[in-house]
């Protein structure tokens, strides 16, 4: 039995966060200010996501945490342990078994279903921040739907690189109204944001919560002659052979050797368990 309140946060803080979540769901894509608390981890390690998860978790939830798709990285392991201790929830690494999934910078490859909640950790919630540093101005731009600057940025990408070079945190327009930062997920994941699960976004340092109800229309910004493309490395996973999952490039030696593996560890492991093999899988098994 832990000495903390259930899910760490006190009840008044949870009520405040819960009210922000409801407003976020009612106004999809709009960043709701909230009184972010100090958490027992540094800013940048998912304090926003942790606070949203704490406000959402129930004792009979099954909790999964991923960091860049992986269940076994430091950030994922420590947040999973945190809620194991303070909320005594069951944890899993299987996407299909989880009811609440906290994620840093990926959407699981396995499609999410109704009843699941996906909680994103967000570093910079304001998509216009690097174009306009003043909060008073970006707020006005959102209120006036003044998003021309974002298209200028994408256009400058094309003028300079011949294509839209933005590869992660690719801006989206929600239900034809708010331009939203999908958090630094690869743009490969953008089309998955129209899903059956509830998506909640928490930015701790920046004190913002926003949300997407299920089946919300999420359109990646683009041009008619330069349409949005959900790109990924043009390879197959070297462990499980998957050709349609997002891949990490792993340097294996100092001779230029490299391999591509699924960024979603649960997806890759379950494919290998089902008998799929990639080009380098034999070495892996040995």
């Amino acid at each position: 039995m832990s000495d903390y309140n259930f899910a760490y946060l006190d009840e008044q803080t949870k009520r405040m966060i819960r009210r922000a979540i409801l407003k976020g769901l009612a106004i999809p894509g709009y960043q709701v200010p909230f009184a972010s608390r100090e958490m027992p981890m540094p800013y940048g390690w998912g304090t926003g996501g942790v606070q949203v998860s704490a406000a959402v978790l129930m004792p009979d939830d099954v909790f999964k945490v991923i960091d860049q798709g992986a269940d076994d990285t430091t950030n994922a392991v420590s947040i999973r342990k945190f809620f194991e201790r303070t909320a005594e929830v069951a944890v899993t690494e299987a996407t299909t078994e989880a009811t609440v999934i906290q994620t840093r910078h990926r959407i699981p490859e396995t499609p999410l279903t109704e009843g699941q909640v996906l909680v994103y950790q967000v570093p910079i919630p304001e998509p216009l921040r690097f174009l306009e540093p003043r909060e008073t101005e970006t707020r006005k731009m959102h209120s006036l739907e003044e998003y021309g600057l974002m298209h200028v940025k994408l256009y400058e990408d094309i003028a300079r690189h011949g294509q839209i070079a933005t590869s992660y945190a690719y801006p989206v327009k929600v239900e034809g109204r708010y331009v939203m930062d999908p958090s630094p997920i690869p743009k490969f994941d953008n089309p998955k944001m129209e899903m059956a699960a509830i998506q909640l976004f928490g930015a701790g340092r920046e004190q913002r919560i926003y949300a997407l109800p299920p089946y919300t229309k999420v359109v990646s910004l683009d041009f008619e002659d330069y349409p949005f493309e959900a790109s990924k490395p043009d390879k197959a996973c070297d462990l499980c052979g998957a050709e349609h999952s997002y891949l990490d490039e792993v340097i294996t030696d100092d001779q230029g050797g490299r391999m591509f593996v699924c960024s979603d560890t649960d997806y890759c492991a379950s494919r290998r368990a089902a008998g799929h093999r990639g080009a380098l899988a034999a070495e892996d098994a040995a």
Partner: protein, 186 residues
Amino acid sequence: MQSSVYEGGFAQPPVQSAAAFRAAMEAMARPGTTHQVTGGQAPGLSVAASVLLLVLCDTDTGLWLAPELDSVELRAWVAFHCGAPIVAPEQADFALGAWGDLPIGQFAIGTAEYPDRSVTLIVEGDWQGETVNLTGPGIETAQVVDLPEPSVFTANAACFPLGWDAFFTRGDTLWALPRSSQIQEG
């Protein structure tokens, strides 16, 4: 009267409010779907409305009570369990009453820069409704619901992103209609 003021709260607030919030969140995320809640009972209110007050209201949120259900007992219950100040419609973060008793035009609908600074209605009880189709965020194809005075909700949706959001409570069930839902009469 004295005893009823202290009763009707959660026996285990952290756990029960977590479950009740998930029901409220699913309701707001999937407009028109009904959800069951338990654990709260305020004098003169439904279980669902009582639970919403317990989960969402505290000293930071102004609450407006419709005169028809306002009572000494209810005010004492709110003061003890939530601590929410009872305020005028213009200042309300939450407004509680039967549909006909809510002065819709007086509530805050937010500002262009802060559309979240708006009221959430908790609509109690039964009404003579019209069947409408809902579409929009949270709805895969369409959702059929009964609404009192659909034209009021249509006007509210037309204000998007401004507007209010509503929970509808009856017995131990609740459902929600956020401002983002489009309403087709017929």
